[in-house]
Symmetry: C2
DNA sequence: GTGGACATGTAGCCTTGGCTACAAAATAAC
DNA sequence: GTTATTTTGTAGCCAAGGCTACATGTCCAC
């Protein structure tokens, strides 16, 4: 773009939607930061439930990262107050950690169900949900539940079959 | 293949889907890495179309980051071959950059439309889509398009009104 | 009860995406 | 044509999340 009256960027007056957009992007970035934490918490909860314990090595393998990476992440979980761990004794969740796990799991299930209801193959639904779930707001979540309900599919009654997420 | 009898930890018997899960997580992580790139490319395309030029400062403001951050990201876009930029002359997209922008925009629109069709308020749909879009696979995208089509809503015919995404 | 295999933890390095602060160039104003 | 303003660019810092390599602990098997 060549010469022009050169308004020197007319900004200053027109940041009405601009901020809204910036806010959205910022939100998405933040969500990304909590995504890891949520994944770890949910997995730990899974392991505690199914195997009775959550070992760093198991966590690392399931997540597809090195054990060192998992250990560093676990340190962060402790800092954030959602988990505890004694050296060589495995990882455990605090009350808030368990609550978070429950919320995350419910949300995950809901997202998968919606995707499947929309015609997405189960496998793809599961894979995409892994990334999508962290960006679904409460508002959207409610709409999802309502949609499933009205579509005839069970709205995953929170305590229902609890289809033991394979994951 | 070392030791083996060594079962250690009762888990072990149940790692059938373990690799699949790790793959999913890895995929989600990778997607996250391309998300930023996509956001920048799409925004640059928007700016080029609406303002005729894409300046680092504008990009930074729209994304809600400092100009320094935007410039570093732009450097990455150049490295990846989707954009070009001459000092003090703005940023431009390469052919592949434009193609990427088109794909990203179409996907974004589709995601928003689906969310709205599911009953999510427009504002929340737009906000959540910002994060969700980067995790929607081709398979899921196709299902979305089919769903919209069958629901009566226009399947956004790719070349249609091209509703000039406000964004 | 000791040796070796496996699990765990630590250190150091890389990359990315942010930031602030400072330097340099372009434009606008005078 | 200077001067002031604004935009652009550069440098240096930080935290997060990955990794490999190395060091230490545990525990099973013998």
């Amino acid at each position: 773009m060549p010469r022009k009256p050169l308004k020197r960027r007319g900004r200053g007056s027109d940041l009405p939607t601009e901020t809204a957009q910036a806010r959205r992007f910022g939100k998405a970035r933040t969500a990304q930061s909590t995504a890891l934490l949520e994944d770890y918490v949910e997995l730990i909860d899974d392991l505690l439930g199914s195997a009775g314990e959550a070992r760093p090595t198991d966590i690392a393998r399931r997540l597809g990262v090195s054990h060192a990476t998992a250990i560093k992440a676990i340190a962060r979980l402790k800092r954030e107050g959602v988990a505890t761990a004694r050296p060589y004794r495995g990882v455990f969740l605090t009350d808030s950690g368990r609550a978070l796990a429950a919320r995350v799991r419910a949300r995950h299930r809901l997202v998968v169900e919606v995707l499947v209801a929309l015609g997405v193959p189960a496998e793809a639904a599961e894979a995409d949900a892994e990334g999508i779930e962290h960006h679904v707001s409460e508002t959207t979540l409610k709409a999802f539940a309502k949609f499933l309900h009205e579509s005839g599919r069970l709205p995953s009654p929170a305590g229902g079959g609890a289809p033991k997420r394979t994951k």
